[in-house]
Amino acid sequence: MAETAAASTFVERAHKVLGNTKLRGNFRRAMDGLMAKRAAQFADIAAWKSLRARGAAAKRRVLARLPELLEQLEANCTANGIKVHWAETTHEANSIVLKILQDHDARTIVKGKSMVSEEMHLNAFLQKHGIEAIESDLGEYIIQLAGEAPSHIVMPCIHKDKGEIAELFTRHIDGQPYTEDVAELTDAARRVLRSRFAAADAGLSGVNFAVAETGTLVLIENEGNGRLSTTLPPLHIAVMGIEKLVETLDDIPPLLSLLPRSATGQSITTYVNMITSPRKPGEKDGPQEVHLVLLDNGRSRVYADNQLRDTLRCIRCGACMNHCPVYARVGGHTYNAVYPGPIGKILTPQLDGIAVAGDLPHACTLCNACVEICPVNIPIADIMVRLRREAVHPSDSPAVMGAGCKHTATEAAVWAGWKKMYASPALYRMGAKMMQRFGNMMPGGMPLLKEWTSVRTRPVFAKKTLHELAKEQGYSDV
């Protein structure tokens, strides 16, 4: 029986992907390539470390006084003529966007890439209200045609190969013959999108960095579609999570250097857009109105907790995904969340609650590959462990919704037993004796051993423990 994605677990979803050798191969190759490109960009480790320290410090400073800086941003944007809106929930954010669009009689919008709008499930919401939203980022456009969600935050259709894209294009674009020629495919998409840009009533984009000091919205991209979506239509709506803030323009250069190099191994993106106001008198282009929607959606709850707050430093480069050995095997859709990979494993349970995403922090070996490369030095593994703890501890921090909901009496009892044995040396030595004698006779079908032996032989208990050997060899005990 087919199971809905929502009802299935990470393990079940992973099973499907692991059985798909083509998909696995696609991911592995793509991730290998991205890792190599990033490594080439940061060959000078000392330089990388100091740049990372600057990037992390910039984000840390913002998070030290986020509420106050958000107010500064609002004041400066408003002074510049940008209309600022606050949304506590995704529903509120959607309603704000809808209201703005309705006020302008907008029927179609073109979208630049925005993960926050994915978080809001904006497209589906607008569609329900009779407004068509067209993704203009090539990757986003492809998955929109396929009716899928992004599988990566920077490269949303990284799971698809040329053949699949060719097939989608012939099916959805009038008169498009089947071709796997990348240039031709890009051309086809460009043709469709160009006409959409010209006709759109509004453009919607995300924000990479908002500068509190100046009220500037910084947007980086490679295809020019972001620039088109934010300048061609008469109305521009930008949506951003409240953590996408920096204090001053001086913070931008290190972060701009870190983000694309970490993400795709590019020294810089093709376009860096800095939007400070709507079109001014005498200017030839630009929208007549610019709106900024600031989304909370649980972020201030995360912000309230000193340790979890570090999560909000994320600049969404996706490097942690590219370097995650689990992500490389199972792909982004397995996470069943807007943000996949390591950052998703810590962000999703914090935004959506443990009940919804409590299994994600366990989809990790704590190998620290993500921590090693994160350009803003987020202690992802430590936060992962903290969330595992929250999942089984009923009384802890209110920062995490659903804390304790994964607590089971069985697991508690297992760990109580574990503690008893390992906290009392005499008991441990006795237990070890038993293991030596009978451990190798454990039935292969018993839990844990059964899972372990699916691809490995069972570990063999040694005849004598090190405790015994040390004594025999005359090693002193004190």
Partner: protein
């Protein structure tokens, strides 16, 4: 070579403690003993407290902090003197050195935990930086490849030390695995919570090791060793998996 880790190289001590780890104790005691023998051969007095058990990592990583602390406290008691504590496993060393301070933050025995943590060293790091051990290779010519454990590399900062030791063996040729730093998929409970994902990872790991053409794979972490050697045995791999302590002792004992 200069140490890559964040912590300073201590002076050469007369006496060291040895922390065997629970996996070594039950499954790889010979590897554990080999590490002790190497230290003793360098003229150190090696003390193995019989009251030691486990570093507490499995509990900490599962979010069971109280249980992890209780077990850690048993180690504080078992290792009372201010001697360095040498660990033949990067993962357990990482737990004690890097995570005890945070695990005990705000606890009454925080200072004790921090002092304990600062005495913890991974075996190969200690052999290279503190003892500058010289190795006379008495073995036949052999090609080996190194598997670096994630926790050794990224928590303890032990990156090149074990390879440096292998290079000091004149008859051993070290062949690099381009995927050396990639996780083998063990991750403690991960291997049983997500057996299929873990299985895919270890299968790839074994393939990358075989791809080097080395006759043996050497590693310094018993979690990885158990995972990789189990997968190798199941698939009938021609590569022989080894713990570095046992390997070094064997090559130099004549």
């Amino acid at each position: 070579m200069t140490p890559a880790s964040a912590y300073p190289v201590p002076p050469r001590p007369a006496t060291v403690y040895y922390f065997g780890t629970c996996l070594v104790d039950l499954f790889y005691p010979d590897a554990g003993l080999a590490g002790m023998d190497l230290l003793r051969r360098e003229g150190l007095k090696v003390v193995f407290p019989q009251n030691q058990t486990c570093c507490g990592q499995p509990a900490r990583n599962t979010g069971m902090y109280e249980e992890a602390r209780a077990v850690a406290r048993a180690q504080f008691k078992a290792f009372p003197n201010p001697w360095p504590i040498i660990v033949p496993s990067g993962s357990c060393a990482g737990m004690m050195r890097m995570h005890y301070p945070e695990l005990f933050a705000g606890e009454p025995d925080q200072a004790e935990a921090e002092a304990f943590a600062s005495r913890v060293y991974e075996l190969t790091w200690f052999l290279v930086h503190v003892l500058d051990i010289q190795l006379k290779d008495k073995g036949e010519p052999l090609t080996v490849t190194w598997h670096g454990s994630c926790h050794s590399v990224r928590e303890m900062g032990v990156t090149d030390e074990p390879k440096e030791l292998l290079r000091r063996l004149s008859n051993v040729t070290l062949v690099e695995n381009p995927r050396e730093k990639e996780c083998c998929g063990f991750g403690g409970t991960f291997a049983v919570r997500m057996p299929e994902v873990s299985g895919a990872m270890v299968t790839d790991k074994v393939a990358s090791i075989e791809g080097t053409g080395a006759a043996q794979m050497v590693t310094g972490d018993c979690g990885c060793l158990m995972n990789i050697s189990g997968a190798m045995a199941k698939s009938g791999s021609p590569v022989k998996p080894r713990h570095i302590a046992e390997f070094l002792k064997e090559r130099t004992n004549g």
